[in-house]
């Protein structure tokens, strides 16, 4: 039998104004198990807490009921008080007689009666409380960053600088991501490569950072602090330990007709290649879809020219398993396909391009060596039309995305400005719905494009692009002039919406991390925990969480890193003790609980039991991983036998509360 102390708080007049606290304390004193009952003006004050501690000692209390404000307010406070008095902190229950009683009822008799019932329910529950101890688990002091773009690089660097080892897994042969493909960056117009490549080099040379390039995560087990991750290192047919990155092979390879994905297919590369000059690691890879040697067994030029002997046509995919304490998703984005927007004639004309393609066309390392030339005929375009919001802000799931892609207004202003700067003889039109430039120095930047560089911003949307001879007839609305206009353009640039990388969805499944309907990772709280996934130990960096520009990505990457550092700095993790547990003798092993668990916290084990008839039997029983369980209790209802119960919210406890309320 418990020895329960009841403490009724006045909360000044907040409670005492509508609840007769003395009567509540007196009435509850007669409840079963209650050996002490008192009221006080402010239970949460130091004096109030001291009163509780003294009563615990004097009356040898084993459980506490605090009738006060919401447990969401002071449950933690009173648990600490209990612990300070030598009680298990989970022997405390709160009766919420402020937010859910005195503040919502006006009359003293009614408020008092309800407060008594709420108090009785809490007493009934405490009678069945048991001391709970949070589980402990050790922390593997190594982090995994999935994705090697600017987000992943920054997160990895920050974690590594704090002294923890980090691995980056990147699916392409080099890190760098989308930023490596950009020309200049808004609003300062520094060259992307100039600010990115030093970071890439830092990451490549950092003693705490390992880069698994051309690799993918194929399996994730374990839980916060103790993840077990399988990484597939795809065969690149070049030995990483031997390749010096001299690039001779990439010049001699006879297969020249491979579309160069780094330049978005606007030029070609060889079958053996290094994606770009500043690649990290600077190691060649063979594209098995195009390599003549791998396909037919005849060629071998690269092996012949490689003085380091790094070419290995027999290389196989390699799987390695590494343990991590924390995982950061930094899988990034891609522009959406323009297939469903052919009113802009993207598939009909080479001179209709996306903004990312435009970046490559203006980049010195791009297919035109930085000269702005039309893909169709290599001529200099004199009239360029930029179309904003292509596929962004669309309702209905069949076409485009509902959200604003956030970066297009700024990069389009940048493209327009740079074009006018380099080629003043070019007319530049930007069709916009709204120009959205919240950000430091962003609107100023956009205004400069208009005022200093003479970019024609027209409010309205393009309705149709018609290729006609070597022109593109752009038919559009000019809403402010109230007319439909036609422009004979030489080049049309579409600001395609961005979407999460396709690898994010399967990764979320491996991580049991949640995603929204657009396949962006969901954060644990949109405002207060924006870089954490609801799944413990999983953090979010960059555009995999939502559209972001570079400054935002970098700051979020740092924030994710600081969360990871905070986790890895701990030697042990304390869990939430209110977790599910299974009574193995009653468990049927039917898997119902496992199926509803959103965290994958339930597994099954075959265990040997002595049966009542003295024989032994191997039975399949559910085992809850307390470090992973978050305590929702869904499994307890899925379980038909009642073997599964939830600590702190046990079925018997809840039913005792029901009984107390209904009596």
């Amino acid at each position: 039998m418990q020895r329960i102390g009841v403490f009724v708080c006045w909360c000044g007049t907040n409670i005492a104004g509508t609840v007769d606290v003395v009567k509540v304390a007196q009435t509850l004193a007669n409840e079963p198990g209650v050996v002490f009952s008192a009221d006080y003006q402010y239970m949460c004050s130091q004096a109030g807490q001291d009163m509780i501690k003294e009563a615990v000692k004097k009356h040898k209390l084993t459980g506490l009921v605090i009738c006060s404000c919401s447990p969401r307010m002071h449950e933690a406070t009173f648990r600490k008080t209990a612990a300070a008095a030598g009680l298990n902190p989970y022997m405390v229950e709160i009766a919420n007689i402020r937010e859910q009683c005195s503040w919502v009822h006006k009359e003293m008799p009614i408020g008092t009666e309800k407060a008594i019932i709420l108090g009785k329910a809490a007493v009934a529950k405490v009678n069945l409380n048991a001391p709970l101890t949070p589980g402990e688990s050790p922390v593997t002091k190594r982090a995994l960053v999935i994705g090697g773009g600017i987000a992943g690089i920054q997160t990895a660097l920050d974690i590594a600088d704090a002294g923890f080892p980090v691995d980056i897994v990147e699916k392409l042969p080099t890190i760098g991501g989308k930023m490596a493909q950009l020309d200049k960056t808004f609003p300062t117009l520094d060259c992307a490569a100039c600010i990115l490549t030093p970071k890439m080099v830092d990451a490549g040379q950092h003693e705490k950072i390992r880069i698994f390039s051309y690799s993918e995560v194929t399996d994730i087990g374990g839980f916060v602090g103790n993840f077990h991750v399988t990484i597939k290192k795809k065969a690149r047919y070049v030995r990483e330990d031997l390749c010096t990155g001299c690039g001779l092979c990439t010049e001699k390879c006879p297969q020249k007709k491979v579309p160069n994905e780094f330049n978005l297919g606007m030029d070609t590369r060889r079958a053996i290649y290094i994606p770009f000059a500043q690649a990290v690691p600077k190691i060649a890879a063979i594209d098995e879809d195009y390599c003549t040697m791998l396909k037919t067994g005849k060629c071998g030029v690269c092996a012949k020219v490689c003085t380091a002997g790094a070419i290995d046509y027999k290389q196989q995919d390699e799987y390695i398993t590494v343990d991590y304490g924390a995982i950061v998703a930094a899988t990034g984005y891609n522009p959406i396909s323009m297939d469903k927007f052919d009113e802009f004639a993207y598939s009909q004309s080479k001179d209709v391009i996306t903004s990312l393609e435009f970046e490559r066309l203006t980049n010195a390392a791009g297919p035109t060596a930085g000269k702005l030339l039309r893909p169709s005929d290599g001529k200099h375009p004199h009239t360029i039309v930029f179309v904003q919001c292509v596929g962004s802000r669309c309702s209905g799931a069949d076409k485009g995305k509902e959200y604003c892609s956030k970066i297009c207004c700024m990069y389009t202003a940048k493209h327009a400005m740079l074009t006018r700067d380099k080629y003043p003889d070019t007319d530049v039109y930007v069709f916009y719905i709204d120009v959205r430039t919240p950000g430091k120095n962003f609107d100023e930047f956009y205004r400069r494009a208009v005022e200093e560089y003479g970019v024609h911003y027209i409010k309205g949307m393009v309705g149709k692009v018609t290729p006609d001879g070597d022109k593109l007839v752009v038919q559009a609305s000019d809403l402010l002039a109230g007319k439909q206009m036609k422009i004979d353009a030489d080049l049309v640039v579409l600001a395609a919406a961005i979407e999460p990388d396709k690898s994010a969805r399967p990764l979320a499944t491996l991580l049991t991390a949640s995603m929204d309907t657009n396949d962006f990772f969901t954060e644990a709280h949109p405002k207060l925990r924006p870089v954490e996934s609801p799944t413990a130990g999983v953090f979010l960096s960059g555009t995999c969480q939502g559209p972001k520009d570079i400054p935002e990505t970098v700051s979020q990457a740092g924030a994710a890193a600081s969360k990871v550092i905070g986790l890895l700095a701990k030697d042990k993790l304390m869990g939430n003790p209110c977790v599910a547990h299974s009574d193995e003798m009653m468990c049927n092993g039917c898997s119902s609980c496992e199926k509803v668990c959103p965290y994958g916290a339930i597994t099954y084990a075959d265990k040997e039991y002595r049966m009542p008839d003295r024989t032994t039997k191997v039975r399949r029983v559910a085992v809850v991983n307390e470090a992973v369980c978050q305590g929702c209790g869904c499994c307890t209802v899925a379980c038909p036998s009642g073997a599964m119960d939830l600590k702190g919210f046990a079925s018997a406890q809840i039913m005792a509360e029901v009984d107390a309320i209904c009596k």
Partner: protein
């Protein structure tokens, strides 16, 4: 005011369109093949219905120029379906007694020998009740 609201209600009910979905990008008007022939353009139909400014729409002949080609319907990023508002406004007028735009008697003068029957029935449907 009540009259205004009634007319708006009627148009919304007939068309089934929710003009509040419009984000005012003007793509409907950008794509409209009959734009230059219209006094009020597709995006204005949406906006004016939203604000209840229906009279001018009914007094204009703009809706007789709509080809019902559904380009605005398919290209609208917000699924507003402006053509349905145009249709609703046109019906509001031609459903009134004596307001038929095209009378069967008018037809013989328009005929030529290649004209398909389809053209006549469509025009009658669109211009008369």
């Amino acid at each position: 005011m009540a009259e205004r609201n009634n007319m708006k209600e009627q148009i919304l009910r007939t068309s089934g369109v929710n003009p509040l979905k419009c984000m005012r990008c003007g793509k409907c008007s950008a794509t409209c093949p009959a734009y230059d022939e219209m006094e009020y353009h597709p995006h204005q139909f949406v906006y004016m219905v939203e604000t209840g400014d229906i009279e001018p729409l009914l007094n204009s002949e703009s809706f007789y120029k709509c080809l019902t080609c559904f380009a605005c319907v398919d290209r609208c990023p917000r699924s507003v379906e402006p053509a349905k508002l145009v249709e609703a406004a046109r019906l509001m007028v031609i459903r009134e007694q004596g307001k038929n735009r095209l009378k069967p008697d008018d037809i013989p003068a328009q005929l030529d020998e290649d004209m398909p029957q389809q053209l006549l029935v469509s025009a009658l449907r669109k211009y008369s009740k």
